[in-house]
Structure formats: C-alpha cells, structure tokens
C-alpha cells in the first residue's frame, strides 16, 4: 500500500491510509528521506492515525526515519498515535526517543512552524 506524500510549502506530509507491511514502512522511510532532499523540505509530518498496531518494527522504522531526516537538516513530527497504540507501545517497552510527537496534524503543523519559523503558534 503506497503512502501519499504531499508537499505543502517547506513541509512534507505523509498520511498513512491503511495498515502497512514491513516493506511498505521501509519504502515510506526511503521515499521521505529522498524527498526531503529533492524538495529541500524543512519539516516532515507522518500521520499514523489509522495504524491500529505499532509494533517493535514499525517503531524502529519510524525512529530511524526521523533520525535520517534530521541528518538531512529537517525536523520530523509523528502525529496521531492512538491511545490504545500508546498503551500497547509502553507495555511492550517501545520508545520513540528523540522523535517529536503531536496529537494530530494541526498540532504537528503548528509545532513545526514554531520550531522552524520561530512562530509562537498564537498568531
């Protein structure tokens, strides 16, 4: 299942549409890292709202993606981790160390604005 990546100004938004296999996740990671360079993006948002499982592989792949994007000079925000998924990740012992998360797409965008453009998010 292909994940559409939308370019919006300085940002890239990857909105996951359905459950992803391991191969899909790796492809998303590679596509995003490549496009950050291609579009000279400053920020990346990955919306995981539809994922009802984030196991050790998914977590590790998203974490490595965020670190790769960071090495290309951009920021990543993971948005939309469901409460049940958060509960299960903690039980499993999974952490997204060094990765910024936000409640939803809107919060994620204002967080990026704040970090990158110095916008205080109020105006």
């Amino acid at each position: 299942m292909l994940v559409p990546i939308l370019k919006q100004g300085d940002y890239l938004i990857a909105s996951i549409q359905s459950e992803l296999s391991d191969a899909d996740l790796l492809k998303l990671r590679d596509d995003l890292v490549r496009r950050v360079s291609e579009f000279r993006s400053r920020g990346v948002i990955v919306d995981v709202t539809v994922l009802d499982v984030m196991d050790s592989f998914a977590t590790r792949t998203l974490r490595s993606m965020a670190h790769m994007v960071m090495l290309r000079g951009a920021e990543t925000v993971i948005v939309g981790i469901q409460p049940e998924v958060a509960f299960s990740m903690v039980q499993l012992g999974l952490r997204l160390e060094g990765v910024t998360t936000a409640l939803d797409l809107e919060e994620g965008l204002s967080l990026l604005d704040h970090k990158i453009k110095g916008d205080n998010g109020l105006g």
Binding site: E19, L20, S21, D22, A23, D52, V53, M54, D55, S56, F57, T59, R60, Q82, P83, E84, V85, F87, S88, Q91, L92, G93, L94
Partner: protein, 137 residues
C-alpha cells in the same frame, strides 16, 4: 461464528494478515479496544519472529473456555532452527537478529498467559492466552 482460524506464515505480508485475523476473533469475544490492540501487537511480534528466524510457520487463533472464563488462545508454530537458550531469548533487549529484542518478552507482557517450547533443529511453539475481563464488559 468460526471459533478457530489459522494463517500460514511465509512472508512479512502475512504478519498483517495474522494480526487482523487475531483482532477479528478477539472482537467477537468482546475484548475492549485497548485489549484488541494488545492482542494484535503481541501477534505481530511472535509472527515476525517466525518470518525472521524460521521463514515459514503458522499462526492459529482459537476461542478458549476455562471454567467461567472465556478468552483467546494464540499459537505461533514453526519448524525452524529453534531457540537454544529460551531464558536468554526472553530477556529484554536480547536479539540475535536485527530486531530490538523486545519481541518475545514484550509479547509476554501484553498477554495474560505465555508459554514457549522450543527444540533446536525442530522448531518453536509459542502459546499465548488473554482472558476477557468480565467486570469491564
């Protein structure tokens, strides 16, 4: 409703199929949405172990009854290389593969019961159970 279902495991795509099948079965039993996620995640971890180490195997979900308790039983079985040291494999952070080493001990934490039998050269069988909490539903 069918009370037993098996999914053959041959590639990483089957991980998604297996956890969907488990979630479907657990849903019929009336587990909460958090519990459904825990079950699906535990299935994901044990099935990934099959794909990574044994390549082929099978995942079966079954409805089980014990006294007045009802629950789901998940059995992941393969004829792979087996695990030489189960105690070590059940330790957080231990991995001989490329994973985080949280798969088996993690799955154990997500379920109510967890049992693993493995013989080197013969294969591995993981049996996990989760019971429906009556006071919740």
């Amino acid at each position: 409703m069918a009370d037993k279902a098996c999914v053959p495991i041959n590639s990483e795509i089957d991980i998604v199929t297996a956890r969907q099948k488990g979630r479907e079965m657990a849903q019929q039993l009336g587990f909460s949405s958090t519990e459904l996620t825990l079950i699906a995640t535990a299935i994901s971890e044990v099935v990934r172990n099959i794909v990574e180490y044994a390549k082929h195997g099978e995942l079966c979900v079954d409805i089980v009854q014990q006294g007045d308790k009802r629950g789901i039983s998940v059995i992941a079985q393969d004829n792979g290389p087996g695990i030489p040291n189960i105690k070590l494999a059940m330790q957080d952070g231990y991995s001989t593969g490329k994973s985080l080493g949280l798969g088996l001990p993690g799955a154990k934490r997500l379920m109510d019961e967890f049992d693993i039998v493995s013989e080197v050269g013969k294969g591995t069988k993981v049996t996990m159970k989760k019971w429906v909490q009556k006071n919740v539903r």
